[in-house]
């Protein structure tokens, strides 16, 4: 579904992505992990066309994404730090996006109800707490029933209850056979969601493995321990 070929990106002298090759298929639930500043967000933004790669290509559903924008209607994106126009209210933001998209498909308003956002419809975005802003981002990402969900640190800033609601939602969508791409540096909360792991460091993909593969090759039951073990082995080499 998403094919990334030789993708590189530099900001000035800083090389953030270094010939990344990845392939993600429908029905997978992939965790994109790695230390801060390893290029996770840049990779995601490249897929969304918000960052223009210096080199390499990205294909979405067999089509190159450069100079294309229609493909984005199949992607629900939840940014790490959602930035919204300050003087608009939650209700206005949702209305605006709905009106601009004018999607005929049925809207998925589960999260809207579960987060009880209707009660806050008249609140301006500038007055919202970080957690509430995240709830709005999550609602927007799932709203149009997209085939692909890209979630950048989805549970960061959410309270345990909201975070649980979101996780439930991710699991439901995963069961519908959607491709889900999650970045996080907190491993434990991902354990019960993901089927594959991509580990990045300094703009390079270190490995891309299925969970079963990872567990069997390291002999560890917990994902975090398995990754720690791989990293330790590499450092020792």
């Amino acid at each position: 579904m998403i094919e990334i070929n030789n993708l590189s990106k530099s900001f000035g002298k800083l090389k953030v992505l270094n010939s990344v090759n990845l392939s993600c298929k429908q029905g997978e639930c992939i965790a994109l992990i790695g230390p801060n500043g390893c290029g996770k967000t840049t990779l995601i933004k490249s897929i969304l066309g918000m960052v223009i790669p210096s080199e390499g290509t990205i294909k979405f559903k067999e089509e190159y994404i450069s100079k294309n924008f229609e493909y984005r209607k199949h992607i629900g994106y939840m940014p790490q730090i959602g930035r919204y126009p300050d003087n608009m209210t939650i209700g206005q933001i949702l209305e605006m996006i709905k009106e601009i998209r004018k999607s005929e498909e049925k809207l998925d308003e589960d999260l809207l109800h579960q987060f009880k956002l209707q009660a806050l419809f008249n609140k301006r975005m500038s007055t919202l707490s970080g957690g509430t802003t995240q709830k709005v981002s999550a609602t927007l990402a799932f709203l149009f029933n997209p085939d692909v969900l890209i979630l950048d640190e989805p549970t960061a800033g959410l309270d345990p209850l909201a975070s649980e609601i979101l996780k439930e939602k991710i699991i439901t969508e995963k069961q519908k056979g959607k491709l889900i791409l999650i970045t996080s540096h907190l491993l434990s909360e991902l354990d019960d969601l993901i089927t594959q792991i991509i580990f990045m460091q300094d703009g390079v993909v270190q490995f891309h493995k299925t969970i079963d593969d990872l567990k069997s090759s390291t002999g560890e039951e917990r994902i975090s321990k398995a990754i720690a073990k791989i990293l330790k082995d590499r450092n020792n080499e």
């Binding site: 933004k45 940014p79 919204y84 605006m96």
Partner: protein, 255 residues
């Protein structure tokens, strides 16, 4: 109408600055015309006020507005919307709102007191100057990510076109007073939209008779209908070129 433009225009109209701008223009225009019994004199006074305030407000307000829309732009970019469409919509939205306030503030009094050729020309020139400086604002805000720097560039550009350019021209004129450079001067005005606008209006007022030899050369060129067409075409280029460069840059911008 494009839905994004609708949201931008509504957002700007809610903004009190545009309202204040309209009211100030309107107070200026009505008072200028009611002070002078001769509408030509009124137009002349108004011209000088317009050529200072309209570019300043257009360029500074637009630059700040574009910087403040970064969240809005980011939000739209993750949706299936073409990049250039977002930039175009911002341009249309900003221009339309500023043109509307110029029309309400200055256009209506002009059409009321001086519904002549010159009055209509003044209105047109005002429209062009507004849009030119909106386009310049797009250029100055895409050059740098730093908001303070961007606004600084916008103000410097305004200062250059509104004041410094004329100083430079005067300097050149005096330095080369012994040479026949009058014809060249006509070409030089093309590099300043404000001067172009001023000359277009001045030459259609009776005062142009008092402008001496250089004035006669200018009249020779700008007085003809071909000259007017060329002048407006150059003003149009002043809109297209800055905006086009900014559009190219925006298409390659990382957000």
């Amino acid at each position: 109408m494009n839905r994004i433009i609708k949201f931008i225009v509504l957002d700007i109209l809610k903004n009190k600055i545009v309202l204040v701008y309209t009211i100030i223009l309107s107070i200026l225009s009505w008072s200028v015309f009611s002070l002078e019994d001769n509408s030509t004199k009124g137009l002349l006074t108004l011209l000088n006020v317009i050529l200072l305030t309209v570019p300043l407000v257009s360029v500074v307000f637009s630059t700040i507005y574009i910087y403040n829309s970064s969240e809005f732009i980011e939000l739209l970019l993750s949706q299936p919307i073409k990049r250039s469409k977002i930039w175009w919509s911002l341009f249309f939205g900003l221009s339309a709102s500023l043109l509307l306030s110029f029309f309400i503030g200055t256009g209506i009094p002009i059409l009321f007191y001086a519904p002549s050729d010159v009055g209509v020309m003044m209105l047109l020139v005002g429209f062009f100057i507004t849009t030119v400086f909106v386009a310049i604002a797009f250029l100055s805000s895409i050059i740098t990510r730093d908001k303070a720097k961007g606004i600084g560039i916008a103000i410097m550009l305004w200062l250059f076109f509104a004041l410094l350019f004329d100083g430079l021209i005067l300097f050149i004129l005096f330095q080369f007073a012994d040479y026949p450079i009058e014809k060249m001067m006509v070409a030089v005005t093309a590099f300043n939209p404000i001067d172009l606008a001023r000359i277009l209006i001045l030459l259609h007022l009776d005062v142009s008779a008092m402008m001496g030899y250089t004035g006669a050369i200018f009249k020779d060129f700008f007085g003809t209908s071909l000259g007017i067409v060329i002048a407006f075409f150059i003003l149009l280029l002043w809109i297209i070129i800055p905006f086009w460069i900014s559009l190219l840059k925006f298409k390659r911008k990382d957000l």
